[in-house]
């Protein structure tokens, strides 16, 4: 009868007699460990020595601010929005929430001002539910929400794990000030990193 699932049968590799008598695989393994023993360690002394993650690292979220580097779509939306220079560019379109696998982690609220314009009142993200997939970043039409290189997101209370509009725009401003001009790539030219892993030749 023809089987639905084909199984490939493999022979278990057999030890030869010399290997069995002289414990050659023991010796092989011990050669590896003694080689490692004399190698340099590859760790960093973490709280005193911190590596900078690459620019595309997906760390804590942030908002870019209105600084004149927006994509053209933002300028179209701007006539309906009340956003001053240096404030978060968020237009409360809920695209990030739509794209998110856990939409309830967003809490976005906007209000209409007396002059008819829209203003973002609240943008909370509960990072305890976030899985750092970055889909919100891809969904944002005005290049507002980004993920930064900050990875120390632990806090003493659950409340502190929620990030808000103010600290997100602050973090985004800080991130752009440091790394806006850096090419978008997955490695860094960090001396500490180079010391540890050597120069990366590819690409």
């Amino acid at each position: 009868m023809d089987k639905m699932v084909k199984i490939k049968y493999l022979e278990r590799p057999k030890l030869s007699n010399t290997e069995r008598i002289f414990f050659l695989d023991f010796i092989k393994g011990m050669k590896v460990t003694i080689k490692n023993f004399f190698r340099k360690t590859i760790t960093t002394a973490y709280p005193y020595e911190k590596l900078t993650p690459p620019k595309r690292f997906r760390g804590t979220h942030a908002h870019r601010v209105r600084d004149g580097k927006e994509p053209p779509s933002f300028n179209v939306l701007l006539q309906f929005m009340e956003i001053k220079e240096g404030e978060s560019r968020c237009v409360a379109c809920y695209m990030c929430q739509q794209a998110c696998p856990v939409p309830t982690l967003f809490n976005i609220e906007a209000e209409q001002l007396p002059n008819g314009k829209k203003r973002v009142k609240r943008f909370d993200m509960n990072l305890l539910n976030c899985l750092y997939c970055g889909l919100c970043v891809d969904a944002c039409p005005v290049d507002c929400i980004i993920m930064t290189d900050s990875y120390e997101s632990a806090a003493y209370t659950r409340k502190d794990c929620t990030i808000h509009l103010d600290d997100m725009s602050e973090r985004g401003f800080d991130f752009d000030k440091r790394r806006y001009n850096e090419p978008d790539r997955i490695w860094i030219d960090d001396e500490a990193r180079e010391k540890l892993w050597g120069q990366i030749k590819w690409s």
């Binding site: 023991f26 393994g29 011990m30 590896v32 460990t33 003694i34 490692n36 023993f37 004399f38 190698r39 340099k40 360690t41 590859i42 760790t43 002394a45």
Partner: protein
């Protein structure tokens, strides 16, 4: 009468020095092990407490001594307390017969760097080594919990297999030296070390020491991936600390010392370090031996229990018997 009292006092002082020295040494052997394990895995090991983590053993000791000592309500109290001591005390008592060097004259006194020189020293060491393992088995039984129980039974199975092979492997050097006294065995190795005809015995002893001290290829009694922590799962605080201290450090150290005495000529060696050269040679050989066990421990994966017992009965026991034959032929030819 007066001489008896003086001798007892002298031996008492010497024993206290040996025990305290062994405690401090065991503490720093943990440091050596952690450093070694770290560098094998390309990480530095303890680094922040003191220079390169040198004060780490003291910090660990403080931590383990100040932890809450929990005794589960279902345990057999007497055996539970007894087991931690039974693992520890016999392991340190082997030191009574291990000589660390020749007697030296210091300020007009003859100082012997060993506690006693029994004519059955090796048998006593073997006996204490076996009793020490009963601690592990009792711990498994007294804990009244399934993981320690399985760990204890596994240790019993390993013990039965390797005690026999260990005993037979020690016969070779005894035949050549013609004495059970460890000091006598060292003195018989002035010329050629006993490793030369006894190479098979040495291999058996290596495996047996790994099995007796529960180091890696044979660490089935704690097997953290399967048995939580094996026989010491229910223990806490210093009672927990005594087990690894006794098994992994003191027992390994002392059994390494015995292996060095049996096969590598003890403190024999060229007198290039002046009057302390016997000690230097002995501790150098001992350190190499101990480091070898660490090296094996941090390299190999764990054997299955059936493989361990199979290795003991089908390979190690015949090898140790073959070793006796080889040594007997050697003695007949070379005298």
């Amino acid at each position: 009468m007066e001489e008896l009292i003086l001798t007892s006092i002298a031996i008492g002082i010497k024993s206290v020095i040996f025990i305290i020295g062994m405690f401090l040494l065991a503490a720093y052997l943990t440091w050596i092990e952690r450093k070694f394990a770290g560098h094998v895995q390309q990480r530095p090991g303890p680094l922040h407490v003191g220079w390169h983590g040198l004060l780490q053993p003291i910090a660990d000791a403080l931590k383990v001594l100040t932890k809450e000592d929990i005794v589960p309500s279902g345990v057999d109290k007497v055996l539970f307390y007894l087991a931690s001591l039974l693992a520890f005390v016999p392991a340190i008592m082997i030191l009574a017969v291990v000589p660390f060097g020749q007697p030296v004259n210091l300020f007009g006194f003859e100082i012997k760097p060993y506690i006693t020189d029994l004519n059955v020293g090796l048998i006593l060491a073997l006996a204490f080594g076996s009793i020490s393992i009963y601690g592990v088995i009792f711990a498994g039984w007294a804990s009244n919990s399934k993981y320690p129980m399985i760990g204890g039974l596994r240790k019993a199975a390993v013990l039965i297999g390797y005690e026999v092979a260990l005993g037979f492997a020690m016969v070779g050097p005894i035949m050549q030296a013609g004495t059970f006294s460890l000091k006598g065995i060292v003195e018989a190795q002035q010329g050629l070390w006993f490793i030369i005809p006894n190479i098979l015995g040495f291999v058996v002893i290596l495996f047996a020491i790994l099995a007796e001290t529960g180091r890696t290829p044979f660490d089935v009694q704690e097997a953290e991936a399967e048995l939580v922590s094996g026989y010491n799962t229910e223990y806490s605080a210093m009672k927990f600390g005594l087990f690894p201290l006794a098994e992994w450090y003191i027992a390994t150290f002392v059994l390494s010392a015995i292996a060095v005495i049996l096969f590598f000529g003890g403190w024999n060696g060229p007198h290039i370090f002046g009057p302390i050269s016997p000690f230097v040679w002995f501790f150098l050989k001992l350190a190499m031996m101990f480091m070898f066990f660490l090296w094996v421990h941090w390299t190999l994966p764990r054997y299955r229990v059936d493989q361990i017992t199979e290795l003991a009965w089908k390979v190690m026991l015949p090898l140790s018997l073959l070793n006796i034959l080889v040594v007997a032929i050697w003695i007949m030819i070379f005298g």
